[in-house]
Protein backbone atom coordinates (compact mmCIF):
# COMPACT_ATOMS: atom_id res chain seq x y z
CA UNK A 1 0.00 0.00 0.00
CA UNK A 2 1.23 3.50 -0.77
CA UNK A 3 -0.41 6.85 0.03
CA UNK A 4 1.08 8.30 -3.18
CA UNK A 5 -0.86 5.82 -5.29
CA UNK A 6 -4.04 6.15 -3.20
CA UNK A 7 -4.01 9.94 -3.65
CA UNK A 8 -3.22 9.57 -7.36
CA UNK A 9 -6.33 7.41 -7.79
CA UNK A 10 -8.48 9.81 -5.78
CA UNK A 11 -7.23 12.81 -7.77
CA UNK A 12 -7.93 11.00 -11.03
CA UNK A 13 -11.48 10.04 -10.03
CA UNK A 14 -12.15 13.67 -9.02
CA UNK A 15 -10.72 14.89 -12.35
CA UNK A 16 -13.08 12.53 -14.18
CA UNK A 17 -16.01 13.89 -12.18
CA UNK A 18 -14.96 17.45 -12.93
CA UNK A 19 -15.26 16.73 -16.65
CA UNK A 20 -18.62 15.02 -16.21
CA UNK A 21 -21.15 17.76 -15.49
CA UNK A 22 -24.17 15.48 -15.41
CA UNK A 23 -22.74 13.25 -12.75
CA UNK A 24 -21.62 16.30 -10.78
CA UNK A 25 -25.19 17.57 -10.91
CA UNK A 26 -26.49 14.17 -9.85
CA UNK A 27 -24.09 14.22 -6.91
CA UNK A 28 -24.48 17.79 -5.71
CA UNK A 29 -27.83 19.19 -6.84
CA UNK A 30 -30.26 16.27 -7.09
CA UNK A 31 -30.26 15.29 -3.38
CA UNK A 32 -31.13 18.83 -2.32
CA UNK A 33 -33.75 19.12 -5.04
CA UNK A 34 -35.43 15.90 -3.85
CA UNK A 35 -35.47 17.11 -0.26
CA UNK A 36 -36.89 20.46 -1.39
CA UNK A 37 -39.63 18.62 -3.28
CA UNK A 38 -40.46 16.55 -0.21
CA UNK A 39 -40.71 19.67 1.95
CA UNK A 40 -43.04 21.24 -0.59
CA UNK A 41 -45.22 18.09 -0.76
CA UNK A 42 -45.75 18.24 3.00
CA UNK A 43 -46.14 22.00 3.08
CA UNK A 44 -49.21 21.68 5.30
CA UNK A 45 -47.67 18.93 7.48
CA UNK A 46 -44.14 20.02 8.56
CA UNK A 47 -44.26 17.29 11.25
CA UNK A 48 -44.23 14.60 8.52
CA UNK A 49 -41.22 16.26 6.90
CA UNK A 50 -39.49 16.20 10.31
CA UNK A 51 -40.14 12.47 10.40
CA UNK A 52 -39.13 11.60 6.80
CA UNK A 53 -36.37 14.17 6.26
CA UNK A 54 -33.67 12.46 8.34
CA UNK A 55 -34.33 9.06 6.75
CA UNK A 56 -33.96 10.60 3.29
CA UNK A 57 -30.81 12.42 4.33
CA UNK A 58 -29.43 8.95 5.04
CA UNK A 59 -30.88 7.23 1.97
CA UNK A 60 -30.04 9.65 -0.80
CA UNK A 61 -26.23 9.70 -0.41
CA UNK A 62 -26.30 5.91 -0.12
CA UNK A 63 -28.26 5.43 -3.38
CA UNK A 64 -26.42 8.08 -5.39
CA UNK A 65 -22.98 6.85 -4.35
CA UNK A 66 -23.93 3.24 -5.00
CA UNK A 67 -24.96 4.11 -8.57
CA UNK A 68 -22.04 6.37 -9.41
CA UNK A 69 -19.46 4.03 -7.91
CA UNK A 70 -20.73 0.81 -9.46
CA UNK A 71 -20.88 2.34 -12.93
CA UNK A 72 -17.48 4.08 -12.63
CA UNK A 73 -15.65 0.99 -11.41
CA UNK A 74 -17.36 -1.19 -13.96
CA UNK A 75 -16.09 1.13 -16.66
CA UNK A 76 -12.63 0.69 -15.20
CA UNK A 77 -12.96 -3.08 -15.54
CA UNK A 78 -14.39 -3.11 -19.06
CA UNK A 79 -12.09 -0.45 -20.56
CA UNK A 80 -8.94 -2.42 -19.74
CA UNK A 81 -7.56 0.29 -17.45
CA UNK A 82 -8.02 -2.02 -14.47
CA UNK A 83 -5.95 -4.72 -16.17
CA UNK A 84 -3.26 -2.16 -16.92
CA UNK A 85 -3.26 -0.78 -13.37
CA UNK A 86 -2.99 -4.24 -11.83
CA UNK A 87 0.01 -4.96 -14.07
CA UNK A 88 1.60 -1.80 -12.58
CA UNK A 89 2.88 -1.32 -9.04
CA UNK A 90 -0.63 -0.65 -7.76
CA UNK A 91 -1.93 -2.23 -4.57
CA UNK A 92 -5.49 -3.48 -4.73
CA UNK A 93 -6.31 -1.57 -1.56
CA UNK A 94 -4.73 1.60 -3.03
CA UNK A 95 -7.30 1.45 -5.78
CA UNK A 96 -10.26 0.82 -3.47
CA UNK A 97 -9.18 3.42 -0.91
CA UNK A 98 -8.54 5.93 -3.68
CA UNK A 99 -12.11 5.49 -4.87
CA UNK A 100 -13.39 5.59 -1.29
CA UNK A 101 -11.49 8.81 -0.64
CA UNK A 102 -12.70 10.58 -3.79
CA UNK A 103 -16.32 9.60 -3.35
CA UNK A 104 -16.13 10.23 0.40
CA UNK A 105 -15.04 13.77 -0.38
CA UNK A 106 -17.90 14.21 -2.84
CA UNK A 107 -20.24 12.78 -0.22
CA UNK A 108 -19.06 15.33 2.35
CA UNK A 109 -19.77 18.11 -0.12
CA UNK A 110 -23.14 16.61 -1.09
CA UNK A 111 -24.23 16.08 2.50
CA UNK A 112 -22.96 19.47 3.58
CA UNK A 113 -25.21 21.10 1.01
CA UNK A 114 -28.23 18.88 1.77
CA UNK A 115 -27.92 19.24 5.56
CA UNK A 116 -27.45 23.02 5.33
CA UNK A 117 -30.56 23.24 3.18
CA UNK A 118 -32.64 21.07 5.51
CA UNK A 119 -31.54 22.64 8.78
CA UNK A 120 -31.77 26.15 7.26
CA UNK A 121 -34.39 27.16 4.66
CA UNK A 122 -36.42 23.94 4.83
CA UNK A 123 -36.74 24.22 8.59
CA UNK A 124 -36.11 20.58 9.51
CA UNK A 125 -36.35 20.13 13.26
CA UNK A 126 -32.88 18.97 14.38
CA UNK A 127 -32.44 18.37 18.14
CA UNK A 128 -28.86 17.03 18.07
CA UNK A 129 -25.80 18.84 16.66
CA UNK A 130 -26.08 19.53 12.92
CA UNK A 131 -22.47 18.53 12.18
CA UNK A 132 -23.21 14.97 13.30
CA UNK A 133 -25.86 14.80 10.57
CA UNK A 134 -23.08 15.46 8.06
CA UNK A 135 -20.86 12.80 9.67
CA UNK A 136 -23.64 10.23 9.47
CA UNK A 137 -24.45 11.20 5.86
CA UNK A 138 -20.79 10.78 4.84
CA UNK A 139 -20.66 7.36 6.51
CA UNK A 140 -23.82 6.35 4.60
CA UNK A 141 -22.35 7.61 1.33
CA UNK A 142 -19.13 5.67 1.87
CA UNK A 143 -21.25 2.59 2.64
CA UNK A 144 -22.97 3.10 -0.74
CA UNK A 145 -19.54 3.42 -2.39
CA UNK A 146 -18.39 0.18 -0.76
CA UNK A 147 -21.53 -1.62 -1.97
CA UNK A 148 -20.99 -0.23 -5.46
CA UNK A 149 -17.35 -1.36 -5.53
CA UNK A 150 -18.37 -4.80 -4.37
CA UNK A 151 -21.25 -5.46 -6.79
CA UNK A 152 -19.32 -4.13 -9.79
CA UNK A 153 -17.24 -7.33 -9.53
CA UNK A 154 -20.32 -9.34 -10.42
CA UNK A 155 -21.42 -7.30 -13.42
CA UNK A 156 -20.12 -7.36 -16.99
CA UNK A 157 -21.93 -4.32 -18.33
CA UNK A 158 -23.12 -1.02 -16.94
CA UNK A 159 -26.68 -2.22 -17.42
CA UNK A 160 -26.00 -5.27 -15.27
CA UNK A 161 -24.49 -3.04 -12.59
CA UNK A 162 -27.66 -0.97 -12.46
CA UNK A 163 -29.67 -4.20 -12.17
CA UNK A 164 -28.20 -4.63 -8.69
CA UNK A 165 -30.28 -1.64 -7.58
CA UNK A 166 -33.51 -3.64 -7.07
CA UNK A 167 -31.58 -6.55 -5.60
CA UNK A 168 -29.24 -4.82 -3.17
CA UNK A 169 -30.68 -1.37 -2.57
CA UNK A 170 -34.48 -1.58 -2.75
CA UNK A 171 -34.95 -4.21 0.01
CA UNK A 172 -32.78 -2.09 2.28
CA UNK A 173 -34.92 0.97 1.56
CA UNK A 174 -38.14 -0.95 2.26
CA UNK A 175 -36.91 -2.36 5.56
CA UNK A 176 -34.91 0.59 6.93
CA UNK A 177 -37.80 2.07 8.86
CA UNK A 178 -38.79 4.73 6.35
CA UNK A 179 -42.16 3.15 5.49
CA UNK A 180 -42.87 1.34 8.71
CA UNK A 181 -41.05 1.72 12.00
CA UNK A 182 -38.61 -1.19 12.31
CA UNK A 183 -40.10 -2.59 15.55
CA UNK A 184 -43.52 -2.82 13.86
CA UNK A 185 -42.24 -5.19 11.14
CA UNK A 186 -43.37 -8.85 11.24
CA UNK A 187 -40.85 -11.06 13.11
CA UNK A 188 -38.75 -12.47 10.24
CA UNK A 189 -38.64 -9.12 8.42
CA UNK A 190 -37.56 -7.41 11.61
CA UNK A 191 -34.64 -9.87 11.86
CA UNK A 192 -33.77 -9.19 8.23
CA UNK A 193 -33.97 -5.46 8.87
CA UNK A 194 -31.53 -5.86 11.77
CA UNK A 195 -29.11 -7.56 9.38
CA UNK A 196 -29.12 -4.77 6.78
CA UNK A 197 -26.62 -1.92 7.21
CA UNK A 198 -28.87 0.81 5.82
CA UNK A 199 -31.21 0.29 8.81
CA UNK A 200 -28.43 1.42 11.13
CA UNK A 201 -27.64 4.38 8.89
CA UNK A 202 -31.25 5.57 8.98
CA UNK A 203 -31.53 4.89 12.74
CA UNK A 204 -28.45 7.01 13.41
CA UNK A 205 -29.72 9.90 11.31
CA UNK A 206 -33.19 9.80 12.86
CA UNK A 207 -31.70 9.70 16.36
CA UNK A 208 -29.51 12.74 15.81
CA UNK A 209 -32.45 14.67 14.48
CA UNK A 210 -34.90 13.68 17.21
CA UNK A 211 -32.82 13.52 20.40
CA UNK A 212 -29.93 15.15 22.19
CA UNK A 213 -27.57 13.10 24.32
CA UNK A 214 -25.08 13.60 27.13
CA UNK A 215 -21.76 13.37 25.28
CA UNK A 216 -21.36 16.54 23.18
CA UNK A 217 -25.12 16.47 22.72
CA UNK A 218 -25.07 13.14 20.88
CA UNK A 219 -26.96 10.06 21.97
CA UNK A 220 -24.63 7.09 22.59
CA UNK A 221 -26.72 4.87 20.33
CA UNK A 222 -25.73 7.06 17.36
CA UNK A 223 -22.07 6.05 17.70
CA UNK A 224 -23.01 2.38 18.00
CA UNK A 225 -25.10 2.59 14.81
CA UNK A 226 -22.27 4.42 13.06
CA UNK A 227 -19.91 1.68 14.23
CA UNK A 228 -22.07 -0.93 12.49
CA UNK A 229 -22.12 1.12 9.27
CA UNK A 230 -18.34 1.54 9.39
CA UNK A 231 -17.75 -2.16 10.10
CA UNK A 232 -19.90 -3.25 7.16
CA UNK A 233 -18.09 -0.72 4.95
CA UNK A 234 -14.70 -2.18 5.90
CA UNK A 235 -16.01 -5.71 5.32
CA UNK A 236 -17.33 -4.81 1.86
CA UNK A 237 -14.05 -3.08 0.92
CA UNK A 238 -12.14 -6.17 2.02
CA UNK A 239 -14.44 -8.40 -0.04
CA UNK A 240 -14.00 -5.97 -2.94
CA UNK A 241 -10.22 -6.30 -2.66
CA UNK A 242 -10.57 -10.09 -2.76
CA UNK A 243 -12.64 -9.94 -5.96
CA UNK A 244 -9.98 -7.80 -7.67
CA UNK A 245 -7.72 -10.43 -9.15
CA UNK A 246 -4.48 -9.58 -10.88
CA UNK A 247 -4.71 -12.74 -12.97
CA UNK A 248 -7.98 -13.36 -14.77
CA UNK A 249 -9.09 -16.35 -16.90
Amino acid sequence: MSPRVTFAVAARVLAQLRHDHRTLALLLVVPSAVLGLLRWMYDSRPDVFDQLGPALLALIPFIVMFLVTSVTTLRERSSGTLERLLAMPMGRLDLLLGYGLAFGLMAALQSGIAVALCAGPLGLDVRGPVWVLVVVAVADAVLGTAFGLFVSAFARTEFQAVQFMPLVVVPQILLCGLFLSRDALPGPLSVLSDALPLSYAVDAMTLVASRTGDVAGVDGQVWRDLGVVAAVTVLLLALGAVTLRRRTP
Binding site: V9, H19, G80, T81, A87
Partner: protein, 238 residues
Protein backbone atom coordinates in the same frame (compact mmCIF):
# COMPACT_ATOMS: atom_id res chain seq x y z
CA UNK B 1 22.08 -10.62 -25.83
CA UNK B 2 20.11 -11.89 -22.85
CA UNK B 3 16.68 -13.45 -22.78
CA UNK B 4 14.05 -11.04 -21.55
CA UNK B 5 11.21 -13.52 -21.94
CA UNK B 6 11.40 -17.29 -21.73
CA UNK B 7 8.22 -19.24 -22.36
CA UNK B 8 8.29 -23.01 -22.05
CA UNK B 9 5.42 -25.34 -23.00
CA UNK B 10 2.82 -22.70 -22.08
CA UNK B 11 -0.83 -23.67 -22.11
CA UNK B 12 -3.74 -21.27 -21.61
CA UNK B 13 -7.41 -22.24 -21.67
CA UNK B 14 -10.10 -19.60 -21.96
CA UNK B 15 -13.82 -20.19 -21.89
CA UNK B 16 -13.39 -23.93 -22.43
CA UNK B 17 -11.14 -23.58 -25.49
CA UNK B 18 -7.35 -23.95 -25.64
CA UNK B 19 -6.18 -20.45 -26.51
CA UNK B 20 -2.43 -21.19 -26.22
CA UNK B 21 -1.31 -24.74 -26.85
CA UNK B 22 2.18 -25.91 -25.86
CA UNK B 23 4.05 -22.74 -26.91
CA UNK B 24 7.77 -22.26 -26.25
CA UNK B 25 9.96 -19.35 -27.34
CA UNK B 26 12.36 -16.70 -26.07
CA UNK B 27 12.43 -12.96 -26.74
CA UNK B 28 15.73 -11.14 -26.40
CA UNK B 29 16.71 -7.75 -25.11
CA UNK B 30 17.69 -5.41 -27.94
CA UNK B 31 15.33 -7.04 -30.43
CA UNK B 32 11.85 -6.41 -31.75
CA UNK B 33 10.01 -9.72 -31.64
CA UNK B 34 6.87 -9.88 -33.74
CA UNK B 35 3.98 -12.15 -32.80
CA UNK B 36 1.95 -12.57 -35.97
CA UNK B 37 -1.19 -14.56 -36.50
CA UNK B 38 -4.81 -14.26 -37.55
CA UNK B 39 -7.44 -12.96 -35.17
CA UNK B 40 -8.33 -15.59 -32.55
CA UNK B 41 -4.99 -17.40 -32.86
CA UNK B 42 -4.12 -16.72 -29.23
CA UNK B 43 -1.80 -13.70 -29.45
CA UNK B 44 -3.51 -11.67 -26.75
CA UNK B 45 -3.73 -14.67 -24.41
CA UNK B 46 -0.01 -15.34 -24.86
CA UNK B 47 0.93 -11.70 -24.23
CA UNK B 48 -1.32 -11.56 -21.18
CA UNK B 49 0.51 -14.58 -19.80
CA UNK B 50 3.85 -12.80 -20.34
CA UNK B 51 2.60 -9.70 -18.51
CA UNK B 52 1.26 -11.92 -15.72
CA UNK B 53 -2.43 -11.05 -15.88
CA UNK B 54 -3.57 -14.34 -17.44
CA UNK B 55 -4.41 -17.48 -15.49
CA UNK B 56 -2.29 -20.19 -17.15
CA UNK B 57 -3.08 -23.90 -17.32
CA UNK B 58 0.52 -25.10 -17.51
CA UNK B 59 4.11 -24.35 -18.52
CA UNK B 60 6.67 -21.76 -17.47
CA UNK B 61 6.76 -18.04 -18.22
CA UNK B 62 9.87 -16.22 -17.06
CA UNK B 63 10.37 -12.47 -17.53
CA UNK B 64 13.71 -10.76 -16.87
CA UNK B 65 14.74 -13.83 -14.89
CA UNK B 66 11.66 -13.96 -12.67
CA UNK B 67 8.32 -15.75 -12.84
CA UNK B 68 5.83 -13.66 -14.86
CA UNK B 69 3.58 -11.57 -12.65
CA UNK B 70 6.20 -11.11 -9.88
CA UNK B 71 5.85 -7.94 -7.89
CA UNK B 72 9.40 -6.79 -8.83
CA UNK B 73 8.44 -6.87 -12.51
CA UNK B 74 5.57 -4.40 -12.23
CA UNK B 75 7.94 -1.42 -12.54
CA UNK B 76 9.81 -2.91 -15.48
CA UNK B 77 7.11 -3.86 -17.99
CA UNK B 78 5.22 -1.51 -20.28
CA UNK B 79 1.99 -3.11 -21.49
CA UNK B 80 -0.43 -1.95 -24.16
CA UNK B 81 -3.65 -3.95 -24.13
CA UNK B 82 -5.42 -4.55 -27.41
CA UNK B 83 -8.19 -2.03 -26.67
CA UNK B 84 -6.65 1.35 -25.75
CA UNK B 85 -6.79 1.21 -21.97
CA UNK B 86 -6.94 4.88 -21.08
CA UNK B 87 -9.66 7.08 -19.63
CA UNK B 88 -11.89 8.54 -22.35
CA UNK B 89 -13.14 11.35 -20.15
CA UNK B 90 -9.68 12.70 -19.30
CA UNK B 91 -7.27 14.70 -21.47
CA UNK B 92 -4.09 13.16 -22.87
CA UNK B 93 -1.95 14.87 -20.23
CA UNK B 94 -4.30 13.95 -17.39
CA UNK B 95 -4.19 10.31 -18.44
CA UNK B 96 -0.42 10.11 -18.72
CA UNK B 97 0.09 12.14 -15.55
CA UNK B 98 -2.09 9.74 -13.56
CA UNK B 99 -0.19 6.65 -14.67
CA UNK B 100 3.11 8.50 -14.11
CA UNK B 101 2.08 9.21 -10.52
CA UNK B 102 1.24 5.55 -10.00
CA UNK B 103 4.78 4.75 -11.15
CA UNK B 104 6.25 7.53 -9.02
CA UNK B 105 7.44 9.62 -11.98
CA UNK B 106 7.43 13.38 -12.36
CA UNK B 107 6.05 15.79 -15.01
CA UNK B 108 9.17 15.51 -17.15
CA UNK B 109 8.44 11.85 -17.85
CA UNK B 110 4.95 12.88 -19.00
CA UNK B 111 6.32 15.37 -21.55
CA UNK B 112 8.84 12.84 -22.81
CA UNK B 113 6.39 10.06 -23.63
CA UNK B 114 3.74 12.41 -25.04
CA UNK B 115 6.45 13.73 -27.36
CA UNK B 116 7.66 10.24 -28.24
CA UNK B 117 4.26 9.27 -29.65
CA UNK B 118 3.90 12.67 -31.30
CA UNK B 119 0.78 13.78 -29.42
CA UNK B 120 2.11 17.16 -28.29
CA UNK B 121 -0.53 18.99 -30.33
CA UNK B 122 -3.31 17.06 -28.62
CA UNK B 123 -2.02 17.13 -25.08
CA UNK B 124 -5.03 19.04 -23.76
CA UNK B 125 -7.68 17.21 -25.80
CA UNK B 126 -10.04 14.76 -24.16
CA UNK B 127 -9.24 11.22 -25.27
CA UNK B 128 -12.89 10.69 -26.28
CA UNK B 129 -12.44 13.37 -28.97
CA UNK B 130 -9.37 11.72 -30.52
CA UNK B 131 -9.33 9.35 -33.49
CA UNK B 132 -8.81 5.62 -32.91
CA UNK B 133 -5.16 5.86 -33.92
CA UNK B 134 -4.48 8.81 -31.63
CA UNK B 135 -6.19 7.01 -28.79
CA UNK B 136 -3.99 3.96 -29.16
CA UNK B 137 -0.95 6.24 -29.16
CA UNK B 138 -2.06 7.62 -25.78
CA UNK B 139 -2.14 4.04 -24.55
CA UNK B 140 1.33 3.50 -26.00
CA UNK B 141 2.62 6.67 -24.32
CA UNK B 142 1.55 5.27 -20.95
CA UNK B 143 3.41 2.02 -21.66
CA UNK B 144 6.60 3.98 -22.41
CA UNK B 145 6.62 5.67 -18.99
CA UNK B 146 9.73 4.97 -16.95
CA UNK B 147 11.66 3.36 -19.85
CA UNK B 148 10.60 -0.24 -19.14
CA UNK B 149 12.98 -3.14 -19.81
CA UNK B 150 10.22 -5.07 -21.55
CA UNK B 151 7.52 -3.63 -23.77
CA UNK B 152 4.54 -5.85 -24.53
CA UNK B 153 2.42 -4.27 -27.22
CA UNK B 154 -0.80 -5.97 -28.32
CA UNK B 155 -1.66 -4.79 -31.85
CA UNK B 156 -0.47 -1.20 -31.30
CA UNK B 157 -0.46 -0.29 -35.00
CA UNK B 158 -3.91 -1.52 -36.04
CA UNK B 159 -5.90 1.08 -37.90
CA UNK B 160 -3.07 3.61 -38.09
CA UNK B 161 -2.23 5.40 -41.31
CA UNK B 162 0.82 3.91 -43.06
CA UNK B 163 3.12 6.86 -42.43
CA UNK B 164 2.41 6.81 -38.73
CA UNK B 165 2.80 3.05 -38.65
CA UNK B 166 6.30 3.40 -40.09
CA UNK B 167 7.10 6.02 -37.45
CA UNK B 168 5.99 3.70 -34.69
CA UNK B 169 8.05 0.79 -35.99
CA UNK B 170 11.04 3.14 -36.05
CA UNK B 171 10.25 4.02 -32.44
CA UNK B 172 10.06 0.31 -31.46
CA UNK B 173 13.49 -0.29 -33.02
CA UNK B 174 14.93 2.77 -31.30
CA UNK B 175 13.63 1.50 -27.93
CA UNK B 176 15.15 -1.93 -28.61
CA UNK B 177 18.50 -0.34 -29.55
CA UNK B 178 18.38 1.62 -26.30
CA UNK B 179 18.19 -1.65 -24.38
CA UNK B 180 14.58 -2.81 -24.17
CA UNK B 181 13.05 -6.07 -25.32
CA UNK B 182 10.04 -5.27 -27.49
CA UNK B 183 7.31 -7.82 -28.20
CA UNK B 184 4.70 -6.61 -30.70
CA UNK B 185 1.68 -8.51 -31.95
CA UNK B 186 -0.21 -7.92 -35.17
CA UNK B 187 -2.65 -9.75 -37.40
CA UNK B 188 -1.34 -7.85 -40.44
CA UNK B 189 1.28 -10.07 -42.03
CA UNK B 190 2.99 -7.16 -43.85
CA UNK B 191 4.27 -5.91 -40.55
CA UNK B 192 6.33 -9.06 -40.06
CA UNK B 193 9.11 -7.79 -42.32
CA UNK B 194 9.83 -5.02 -39.85
CA UNK B 195 10.69 -7.36 -36.96
CA UNK B 196 14.07 -8.76 -35.95
CA UNK B 197 12.44 -12.02 -34.95
CA UNK B 198 9.16 -13.56 -35.97
CA UNK B 199 6.75 -15.83 -34.17
CA UNK B 200 3.91 -17.05 -36.36
CA UNK B 201 0.86 -18.30 -34.52
CA UNK B 202 -2.20 -20.24 -35.61
CA UNK B 203 -4.94 -21.85 -33.50
CA UNK B 204 -2.95 -21.44 -30.31
CA UNK B 205 0.24 -23.03 -31.67
CA UNK B 206 3.50 -21.56 -32.95
CA UNK B 207 3.99 -22.48 -36.59
CA UNK B 208 7.30 -20.61 -36.98
CA UNK B 209 10.02 -19.03 -34.86
CA UNK B 210 12.62 -17.47 -37.15
CA UNK B 211 14.05 -14.28 -38.59
CA UNK B 212 12.00 -12.81 -41.47
CA UNK B 213 14.83 -13.62 -43.94
CA UNK B 214 15.24 -17.14 -42.56
CA UNK B 215 11.53 -17.78 -42.83
CA UNK B 216 11.32 -16.63 -46.46
CA UNK B 217 14.43 -18.61 -47.41
CA UNK B 218 13.19 -21.75 -45.68
CA UNK B 219 9.76 -21.65 -47.32
CA UNK B 220 10.99 -20.34 -50.67
CA UNK B 221 8.42 -17.53 -50.63
CA UNK B 222 8.58 -13.82 -51.31
CA UNK B 223 6.46 -12.51 -48.44
CA UNK B 224 5.38 -13.56 -44.96
CA UNK B 225 1.75 -14.08 -45.94
CA UNK B 226 2.80 -16.72 -48.50
CA UNK B 227 5.26 -18.21 -46.02
CA UNK B 228 2.46 -18.56 -43.46
CA UNK B 229 0.28 -20.31 -46.07
CA UNK B 230 3.12 -22.60 -47.10
CA UNK B 231 3.80 -23.59 -43.48
CA UNK B 232 0.13 -24.25 -42.70
CA UNK B 233 -0.35 -26.31 -45.90
CA UNK B 234 2.84 -28.22 -45.15
CA UNK B 235 1.57 -29.09 -41.69
CA UNK B 236 -1.83 -30.14 -42.93
CA UNK B 237 -0.28 -32.36 -45.64
CA UNK B 238 1.70 -34.26 -43.00
Amino acid sequence: MSNAVRVDRLRVTRGGTTAVDDVSFTARTGEVTGLLGPSGSGKSSLLRAVVGVQVVAGGIVEVLGRPAGSRELRHRIGYVTQAPSVYDDLTVTENVRFFARVLGLGPQAVDEVVGAVDLGRHRDSRVARLSGGERSRVSLAVALLGTPDLLVLDEPTVGLDPVLRLDLWALFHRLAREGAAVVVSSHVMDEAQRCDRLLLMRSGRLVADDSPEGLLARTGTADVESAFLALVRGQEAR
